[in-house]
Structure formats: structure tokens, C-alpha cells
């Protein structure tokens, strides 16, 4: 029992597992970066300029500028979620890569930690590539926008941990569709990615207040606009709390599944 519910046993043995994922990524790096860019770019250009051209200012700035911050957050969220769900599930269940690794001195806890750190690493790369586009389009010119690079791996840890908990429960890829359609899509609508949360009815605003993506957006948007965000410790604490709780839940679920 202690083995199932005990705190995660973390060690540096996770590093070779992280390097394994990095080596795979390097083989497909160009396609991966293009994939990271295409989706947010389509939204920023399509919605931002298309929809933006018929909208007045949103939140005091042009719509495309408003949307850019939302896209940084939702794209890093998506990157971490995909990595922690589809890719990790492939390695765990389809390719049995985890089984092979656990026959060595690397423990399950190390493997799960490696997957989490890897998801956060990919989030960072995804966030960086979008930021480069934002800077190139002139949508943000403040030095404060560099702080978003610190934020992206934190978003990655949060949604990577939640995604891993889903993976621990999944028996096929279809399972992840529930999470995407029932959790992630509504969260994007409620978190101020596409429009200000203040547009929502009061009960929805109350829900939005506890969503991790909302807190990520609350940090990213002012930073891109060159302002210091309000309540920085609160937003960090919420993201870290989701990351910690998600990781611990994932750990328990993976142990029950794989060490029984």
C-alpha cells in the first residue's frame, strides 16, 4: 500500500529517459516545430486579423494582440497535453517502452517524472516558437514578454501532469477525446483565450477563477502588453498546485496499473 500511495520517489535516473525522448524528437524536429507553429499561427492570422478587422478594440488593444497571449497559453497547454497523453500512451501501452526501461535500474516514478519534464520541455519549445512569431509580427515589443518563456514550462508541467493522470486511466486513444472535448475545449472558452472573461455570465466567471488556463492567461497577457501582472504569486501557486496534484494522482494511478 505504501508503495502505491507513497510520495513520488524522484531521482536523477529520469534524465536518460528524458534524453531518449529528446533523441526521438531530434529526428522529427522540423516537422514537430512546424506542427507547433501551424495551429496557433492559423488562429492568430485567421481569427486575429479576420475577426479582428470587424471588431473594435478588445481589452484596450487590437484583437490580434489580445488573442496572441491566449494562443501562447492554449498552444503550450495543447502541446503538453498531447505529449502526456497520445505520445506517453504510445510509449507505455503500444510500444511497451516503459516496460523495457523498468527492467533497468530506472523505476516507474523516474519514468513518469521524465515524461512530465519532457512534456514541459516540449511546451517550452512550442511557446518559444509562437513567441518568435509574435515578436516578428510586432504584436509584442516589451522586454517583459521574455518572462513568458519562464511561464511556458510551468504551463507544460501543469497540463503534462493532468494529461499523465488521464493516460494512467486510458485503455485506448479514443479515451483522450473525452478529456479534450469535455475539459480542454470548455476551459479554452472560459479562460479568456478568445475573449475577456468579463463577457461571461457571473457563474461562469466563478468557474473560470479556478481553471489553471485562466491563471496562465492572467500572467501571459499583461507580460506581452508590457505590464507587470497582478497577483503573480497566486497565479503561480494555482498552476503549481494543479501540477503537483496531477503528478501525484498520475503516480498513484500508474503504480496501480503497472506495478500490480
Amino acid at each position: 500500500m505504501t508503495r502505491i500511495f507513497g510520495p513520488p520517489l524522484l531521482s536523477l535516473r529520469f534524465v536518460p529517459v528524458w534524453r531518449r525522448n529528446l533523441l526521438v524528437w531530434r529526428k522529427l524536429a522540423i516537422a514537430s516545430v512546424l506542427g507547433n507553429l501551424a495551429d496557433p499561427l492559423i488562429y492568430v492570422l485567421g481569427l486575429g486579423y479576420g475577426l479582428g478587422s470587424i471588431l473594435p478594440e478588445v481589452g484596450g488593444v487590437s484583437y490580434v494582440t489580445f488573442l496572441a497571449a491566449g494562443m501562447v497559453c492554449s498552444s503550450t497547454m495543447n502541446t503538453a497535453s498531447f505529449e502526456a497523453m497520445y505520445s506517453a500512451f504510445s510509449r507505455m501501452h503500444v510500444q511497451r517502452t516503459w516496460d523495457a526501461i523498468m527492467n533497468t535500474p530506472v523505476n516507474l516514478d523516474d519514468v513518469v517524472l521524465a515524461e512530465l519534464v519532457w512534456a514541459a520541455s516540449k511546451s517550452f519549445l512550442s511557446g518559444l516558437s509562437i513567441l518568435v512569431v509574435i515578436w516578428a509580427l510586432g504584436l509584442s515589443s516589451s522586454p517583459l514578454s521574455f518572462w513568458v518563456l519562464v511561464l511556458t514550462p510551468l504551463i507544460g508541467l501543469t497540463f503534462g501532469a493532468l494529461g499523465l493522470a488521464m493516460t494512467a486511466l486510458a485503455w485506448n486513444y479514443d479515451f483522450f477525446m473525452y478529456y479534450f472535448t469535455l475539459v480542454m475545449t470548455p476551459m479554452m472558452m472560459l479562460s479568456g483565450v478568445f475573449f475577456p472573461v468579463e463577457q461571461l455570465p457571473a457563474p461562469f466567471q466563478a468557474v473560470a477563477a479556478v481553471l489553471p488556463l485562466r491563471h496562465a492567461v492572467e500572467l501571459a497577457r499583461p507580460l506581452l502588453l508590457g505590464q507587470v501582472p497582478a497577483q503573480v504569486p497566486l497565479h503561480f501557486a494555482v498552476l503549481l498546485a494543479y501540477a503537483g496534484a496531477g503528478f501525484y494522482a498520475a503516480m498513484i494511478l500508474f503504480r496501480r496499473r503497472l506495478l500490480k
Binding site: 508503495r3 535516473r13 536518460p16 529517459v17 534524453r19 531518449r20 533523441l23 526521438v24 529526428k27 510500444q95 511497451r96 517502452t97 516496460d99 523495457a100 526501461i101 523498468m102 527492467n103 533497468t104 535500474p105 530506472v106 523505476n107 506495478l259 500490480k260
Partner: protein, 305 residues
């Protein structure tokens, strides 16, 4: 290395109220090849997982390479190689990359691993395939690479879960030859199998498992001598059942029927053979008893899936 390489004591593991492994105790000496035989679902793989510390026993204890498992399983596994039942080579990597990445999991330095790779590729007969992708390998090549991968840390003991299942005879014989080579180098092997020929060729000692329990343990010859008559006459053809009920029942010490074949077990086969040569329509095969006869006697002939 002194003492025992692996000692399991009174292992028990239950899933859903059913014993998958029950009262299993055994020891493996350094340099020995020890076999776990049993039909599908006998508990062989679970026993291996318990020995490696990949799952906790409900009761009982394991000492692997002088380390208590699961307590110090990580330290124990530094000295262990594992060939799993299902191939789980990394499909995104080449042959060489598979070995390199696997060596890192043991904390080995890049230089140490790169020095070992050529020897391991030669051992596996894959020297010309170093840069091949895994998808381009045949089943036999994949198995050999999996064996080479299990040796990347130069282990003292290698666990193999059905190492030749699904291979053609050529590939199987090559694996057997390599395993004998490892034994000659002084490595300890623990393997599960349901190929009796494999067990007879490789294992100094083996245990037959069924329904989670050890039924018997010993060298292949001891098991044959202990459990079964030395001669077997397999008989089939029209009228075989009548012959079995009549003459054979008197001449053989034991009879087994399977489909339309009668297996006659005897210490002295001459009277049986004489009886058969007078009956024209019966066809027969006379052979020495082997491990498979022991296995089938102890675990029964009905299907297990």
C-alpha cells in the same frame, strides 16, 4: 560471486482473490541455467516480475544478487539483464541507438557503452545491421538484438521470458547457441519456456509450474526418472481403442489417450512391441520418454488459454 544468485522464499501473489503464484521457493546458483516450465497462465511471468521487484509479493521474500527485492531492487537490477516476452525495442531508433539509449538507463558512460556495442552486435550477428531501423529486422534479428540489449550492462544474471517463442527453427537454434555461450562465460540464466526441448538442452535444473505452484523441481533427467517410465509407444490407427482396452492395458504400466492416439508408458517395451507387430492396421512410434511426457503427465492434456 559467491552464495546464490537468486533466492525466492515462499512467494505468494494474489489477483482478484486468486493465487497467481503460491508457495514458490527456489534458488539459483551462480553460473547455473534454471528453467521455469508451465502452461500458459501458470504464473511464470509473474514469478519473474516478483524476482525483479517489478511487483510486490503478498508474502514471501526475494534476494537477487545479494540484495533484498523489492527493497533494493534498483541496486539489484544494475547487475541484471532482462529479455522480455514481448519485443519492446525502440521503433524510432536504429540498432545501435537502441543499445546506446538502453545503456544510459544503467548510468553507464557514453564511452563505455560505445566500446561495448561492436562486441554485442557481433554476438547478436548484427554487425552489418548497426544502422538499420528496427522495422527492417526479422523476428529472429529482433530477438537477438533484445538479447544483446540485455547484455549492455555486462550483467551477472540474465532473465529471459520465453526467449524463443515465435521464432523459426534456425533462429531458435542460434539463440540456444548464444545462451550456451553466455553460460560458458559464467553468466547465470533464468528462463521461462513451454518448449521442452529448450529446457532439456539448456537447463541444469528446472521447475514445472502449474496454477501458480511448483509441482516438481530437478534436472531434466531426474524429472524423467522420477515421474515417468523410460519408454513410450505412441499408437494410432483403426481399432487402437480396442487394442488399448485389451492387450495394452495388461502390457503397459500406464496408458493415456489423446484424440485417436494412445500413449503407452512402459519400463519394458518388448511385449508391447511384439503385440503391435502382430496387429497389422496399428501404426506406432517407439521412443524414449522425454520432458514433454513428464510435463503432460503433471499438468494434464487439456488446453489452457
Amino acid at each position: 560471486m559467491n552464495g546464490v544468485a537468486l533466492a525466492a522464499h515462499n512467494l505468494r501473489k494474489r489477483y482478484d482473490g486468486q493465487d497467481v503464484v503460491a508457495d514458490v521457493s527456489f534458488g539459483v546458483a551462480p553460473g547455473e541455467c534454471y528453467g521455469l516450465l508451465g502452461p500458459n497462465g501458470a504464473g511464470k511471468t509473474t514469478t519473474l516480475r516478483l524476482c525483479l521487484g517489478l511487483t510486490d509479493p503478498d508474502t514471501g521474500s526475494v534476494v537477487l544478487m545479494q540484495k533484498p527485492v523489492p527493497g533494493e531492487a534498483r541496486a539489484a537490477r544494475l547487475r541484471v539483464g532482462v529479455v522480455p516476452q514481448m519485443d519492446n525495442l525502440d521503433p524510432d531508433f536504429t540498432v545501435t541507438e537502441n543499445l546506446l539509449v538502453y545503456g544510459r538507463y544503467f548510468g553507464l558512460g557514453e564511452g563505455v557503452i560505445r566500446d561495448r556495442i561492436p562486441q554485442l552486435l557481433e554476438f547478436a550477428g548484427l554487425s552489418s545491421r548497426a544502422a538499420s531501423r528496427i522495422q527492417a529486422l526479422s523476428g529472429g534479428m529482433k530477438r537477438r538484438l533484445t538479447l544483446a540489449r540485455a547484455l549492455i550492462n555486462d550483467p551477472d544474471i540474465v532473465f529471459m521470458d520465453e526467449p524463443t517463442t515465435g521464432l523459426d527453427p534456425q533462429a531458435r537454434h542460434l539463440i540456444w547457441e548464444r545462451l550456451k555461450q553466455l553460460l560458458a562465460e559464467g553468466k547465470t540464466l533464468v528462463l521461462t519456456t513451454h518448449f521442452m526441448e529448450e529446457a532439456e538442452r539448456l537447463c541444469a535444473r528446472l521447475a514445472i509450474m502449474d496454477r501458480g505452484r511448483f509441482i516438481t523441481e530437478g534436472s531434466p533427467r531426474e524429472l524423467i526418472a522420477r515421474h515417468i517410465e523410460p519408454h513410450v509407444v505412441e499408437v494410432h490407427g483403426d481399432g487402437v481403442m480396442g487394442w488399448a482396452d485389451g492387450e495394452a492395458a495388461k502390457l503397459a504400466s500406464r496408458l493415456e489417450r489423446s484424440g485417436d492416439t494412445v500413449f503407452c508408458y512402459a519400463t519394458e517395451p518388448a511385449p508391447l512391441l511384439a503385440s503391435l507387430s502382430s496387429g497389422e492396421e496399428l501404426r506406432y512410434l517407439h521412443r524414449p520418454a522425454n520432458l514433454e511426457d513428464v510435463f503432460l503427465k503433471l499438468t494434464g492434456r487439456e488446453l489452457r488459454d
